[in-house]
């Protein structure tokens, strides 16, 4: 018994010690786990908090207000309108039938459509966007649980169809689709903001947990050189010509000769910027007549003929031949020519527009008369290579670099394909194609003293609080012609308006220079013409230039008869106006 007891006692002592060891091991392990927890909660906290926050938050974008487009007079041409997006949150809806009924009534949607969305089990279901603010406010005032009204911005063009092809419009995400809206996208578009809401695992927003907002940053306002008054007047004249001449289209461009700023660019028919996807009547008729898809017709409707399309400039191009001739010394103003009414180049007989011929005339009068044989002779005197050199030097082979998307390139013969016949036709503006804005830009360079400018609208972009201004700088190249040639050109072109074929472009009290053109469109003999007039003022120190192009007029089609009066009327109004605002 005694032995047993002593063994038992000894074992008890060992057992106590080992119990203690077991306990200490457990406690040590627990404390190590405490350290592990501490490590996770202090050193990994940032990492896991970021991951968890990412998991818990649902983002909703807040659209940024797009920058406005403002003309040189300070008039807003493209603005933002507050519109509403109506959506429903399934889990928060208490009276689905009332909600469906109310939404159908206010939004004019079918019950089936609304019911499907209201009853769909989703975190947030959009019912309709771009709802007018008044309707949105009305829906908000019903104060029905589960119906959410979010405000955002929609582009709004106060003048609707004014300068539609210049300004362009924006799409569903407020991104530019055509026009300046595309070119200046990165300035106009703001930075989206975000509403970060805490949600549970099913995406249901948690009440009372607050939300974080990242405020949107509005886009920069774009200031452009376009002058709304000139644009409106030019549009009015273009529409008048378009209607009275039943033309296919009328384009008018008004440009500052010395820096390339465009004051107006009209290409009638214009479309409605606030409803850019609605075909205007002219195209609606085509849609009914032809097989063309609506999208093709929309693309046609949105085309800006001033820059997207090329044409044979015709006689206005004689300015360039004259400049090349005078600059190269191939012709002088007082050189005498004789026009029998035609000229034979190689074995081709090319007629003058005056069948009886202009008879004996000096070069000045040849320009005034727009005499084809004389210009062909001058062209031939310059020669193919030299002519091509000037063509290149005057920038005619390149795009102007205008700040509108989709500028068309020049369609010109290759140098080795130009024979005498080709040169002859080029000399009076046929057998190649350029855009109207290309013609204008080159002529501007010839009469402003030889400075080839970049035509443009964008002047500067300014942020909402005016603290950041981006001024746009455009490349120019000097010395494409000598000032002597410029002076002579100004003189002869003024003569054209004073006494020659452009006399319908004369404005009393102002010195106007200009050149008319009447070009037959391809294919020849179709009886379709393009009438145009290029005018500038003042003739001795040009500041502003206007080009009017009437595409396929009915009846009278001579540029001097129908296009020159358009420019005259334009100048009659805008020249006093420009003097008044002390235009540079």
């Amino acid at each position: 018994m005694a032995i047993k007891n002593s063994t038992g006692r000894r074992n008890m002592t060992v057992q106590k010690r080992k119990t203690f060891v077991l306990c200490i091991m457990s406690v040590v392990l627990l404390l190590l786990l405490g350290v592990r927890v501490g490590y996770l909660m202090i050193f990994c906290s940032e990492h896991y908090t970021a991951l968890a926050t990412d998991l818990h938050e649902r983002e909703r974008d807040i659209k940024a207000a797009r920058g406005r487009i403002i003309d040189s007079t300070g008039t807003v041409l493209a603005d933002n309108k507050t519109v509403c997006t109506i959506s429903v949150i399934h889990s928060q809806i208490k009276e689905p039938d009332k909600v469906i009924d109310m939404l159908c009534r206010e939004l004019g949607l079918s019950e089936e459509y609304v019911r499907k969305r209201v009853e769909k089990y989703s975190a947030r279901e959009r019912i309709k966007s771009n709802v007018d603010k008044e309707i949105g406010d009305k829906i908000r005032n019903y104060d029905m649980a589960g119906v959410k009204v979010d405000e955002d911005y929609k582009r709004y063009y106060p003048y609707d169809d004014l300068a539609s092809k210049v300004l362009g419009f924006t799409g569903g995400d407020n991104q530019g689709i055509i026009g300046l809206e595309v070119t200046y996208e990165k300035y106009l578009t703001g930075k989206k903001g975000q509403i970060l809401t805490l949600t549970d695992a099913k995406g249901i927003e948690l009440d009372g947990m607050g939300e974080r907002r990242k405020e949107p940053e509005a886009g920069k306002d774009l200031y452009i050189s376009l002058d709304v008054n000139i644009q409106r007047y030019a549009t009015q004249l273009a529409k008048q010509a378009y209607e009275t001449k039943q033309a296919a289209g009328v384009s008018i461009i008004v440009m500052n000769v010395n820096n390339g700023e465009i004051l107006a660019m009209v290409d009638v028919p214009e479309f409605h910027l606030n409803e850019p996807y609605t075909l205007i009547d002219e195209f609606q008729v085509q849609r009914e007549d032809s097989q063309e898809s609506t999208q093709d017709l929309l693309n046609k409707m949105w085309r800006n003929g001033c820059i997207n399309d090329t044409y044979e400039p015709g006689s206005t191009f004689k300015t360039i031949t004259a400049a090349a001739g005078l600059e190269s010394g191939a012709v002088r103003l007082e050189d005498n020519f004789s026009c029998p009414g035609y000229i034979i180049v190689d074995d081709r007989k090319i007629r003058c527009h005056k069948v009886a011929g202009h008879g004996a005339e000096d070069f000045t009068h040849a320009v005034m008369n727009s005499c084809n044989p004389v210009f062909i002779m001058v062209g031939l005197r310059i020669g193919v290579e030299r002519y091509y050199e000037y063509f290149t030097k005057f920038g005619l082979k390149q795009k102007t670099g205008i700040d509108l998307p989709g500028e068309a390139g020049t369609i010109m013969h290759q140098l080795d394909k130009i024979g005498e016949v080709e040169l002859a036709t080029i000399s009076f503006g046929q057998s190649f194609q350029i855009t109207p804005v290309r013609l204008m830009t080159t002529v501007a360079g010839l009469i402003n003293g030889g400075k080839l400018v970049t035509p443009h609208f964008g002047v500067k972009a300014v942020n909402a609080d005016g603290t950041s201004v981006d001024e746009f700088v455009y490349p120019t190249s000097e010395g494409i012609v000598s000032s002597d040639t410029t002076d002579k050109l100004r003189y002869v072109l003024e003569q054209v308006v004073e006494n020659g074929g452009g006399k319908n472009g004369y404005v009393e009290g102002f010195r106007i220079g200009g050149k008319t053109a009447t070009s037959q469109t391809l294919p020849r003999g179709s009886g379709r013409y393009i009438a145009s007039f290029l005018g500038f003022a003042p003739a001795d120190d040009p500041k502003v230039m206007a080009l009017a192009i009437i595409d396929t007029p009915q009846g009278m089609y001579y540029g001097g008869q129908i296009a020159a009066p358009v420019v005259r009327q334009l100048f009659e109004n805008i020249l006093p106006y420009l003097e008044e605002i002390d235009y540079k």
Partner: protein, 383 residues
């Protein structure tokens, strides 16, 4: 003023109120956390945000009834239940495969006893504690080192291993099997004077673990079993974020986003559907998220106090049987707490182990409190 010497546990018949206080606090805190953790999901799924709280409160009441019965019930009587404890446990485990067995989430771990459902594995844990306490005491009384004879070893080792295998095979519950074996090893460690065998086998287990882990970390686990995949997920949870490591990663999000001060009671985001059934095994991660590092460390310290109290009672018990009972219970708590927190913090691969007194669960609450009752009973007769 005459300074009175402070007397602690001076009375022979005073039970350990420190332990009781810690347990009451843990149980109360557990109920609070179960409500906090489960109310959001319960409100959505059961239409009653207190659904889990009410169930757990019922379980707790039943558990305290058992606790008070055990305080009154002389523990020495348990000594007679040695073989019975193993037989009853084994029968109950086998019953999960009978018609009254219940299969949830693909695992047959419950039996239906009419008024409630029941996890036999929990019975097996207390069964092993009673059996080993009783049998070691009896073997020792036969003479010195009887336990180290082959026959003695067989008597102490075979029944616990048998129960563990049964639990693993029939209920596919590795964690309960590990706990049963762990309790047995801990009790034998205490009962046998040797160290070397335990450290040798400990080292062997460790080596095996290292071998498996290095195999898994180098092998392609795409076609492997679900346990191997869990190990792979443990090594790199963010690569398995959508399947095996989903729960672990969500728990880590909760712990990590709690930070030092926590988000405040009731403010957990992870419990809002991100961490599924957060009131069960993963409740500790929500404690971390809501109460921060200080709350988490406070809970760990409470468990340290609990285990320490058990050790004190075990070493003051008047007989070996009582001491061994308390050691078994202590080992049970220690193993579960350590494994649970290790799983939640991704210190070891994910396996389902509840946090004693705090996690939701009827059977475990009942038996954990019963065990406390036994320990308190032992403490009453302490020296």
């Amino acid at each position: 003023m005459v300074r009175q010497p402070v007397k602690f546990r001076s009375s022979k018949h005073n039970m350990d109120y420190v332990l009781l206080t810690v347990v009451l606090f843990l149980v109360g805190f557990g109920l609070l956390m179960i409500y906090s953790v489960s109310s959001y999901d319960a409100g959505m799924d059961h239409g009653d945000s207190a659904f889990f709280l009410k169930n757990q409160a019922q379980n707790t009441v039943v558990g305290f009834v058992a606790l008070f019965i055990m305080i009154k019930f002389p523990y020495k009587t348990l000594q007679r239940f040695d073989v019975l404890a193993i037989v009853v446990s084994a029968i109950l485990i086998v019953l999960v495969k009978s018609p009254i067995g219940i299969t949830r989430n693909g695992a047959s771990r419950w039996i239906n006893v009419g008024i409630t459902t029941f996890q036999p594995a929990e019975v097996a844990k207390i069964g092993v504690i009673i059996y080993l306490s009783s049998i070691i005491q009896r073997l020792e009384s036969l003479g010195k080192n009887v336990i180290r004879t082959p026959k003695g070893l067989a008597i102490v080792l075979v029944p616990p291993v048998f129960l563990a295998v049964l639990v693993y095979e029939l209920t596919n519950n590795l964690s309960s099997a590990v706990i049963i074996l762990g309790i047995a090893v801990a009790m034998l460690f205490v009962a046998v004077p040797d160290y070397k065998w335990f450290f040798a086998s400990g080292a062997a287990v460790l080596a095996a673990v290292v071998a498996i882990v290095s195999y898994v970390s180098n092998a392609d686990t795409s076609g492997s079993t679900f346990r191997l995949a869990r190990i792979a997920a443990w090594l790199n949870p963010e690569a398995y974020s959508t399947d095996q490591a989903f729960q672990t990663l969500q728990a880590l999000y909760a712990i990590g986003s709690g930070g030092i001060w926590g988000k405040g009671l009731g403010q957990s985001m992870q419990k809002r559907g991100f961490l599924p059934e957060a009131q069960n095994d993963m409740i500790f991660s929500i404690i971390c998220e809501e109460l921060g590092l200080f709350g988490a460390l406070a809970i760990i310290l409470l468990f340290v106090v609990l285990i320490w109290s058990c050790m004190i009672i075990a070493n003051k018990a008047v007989d070996r049987f009582g001491a061994l009972l308390v050691v078994g219970v202590m080992a049970h708590y220690a193993i579960q707490v350590i494994l649970n927190i290790a799983v939640v913090t991704n210190t070891i691969p994910n396996t389902g182990i509840t946090l004693p007194f705090i996690s939701y669960g009827g059977t475990s609450t009942l038996f954990l409190l019963t065990e406390i009752g036994i320990v308190l009973n032992v403490s009453k007769s302490c020296r």
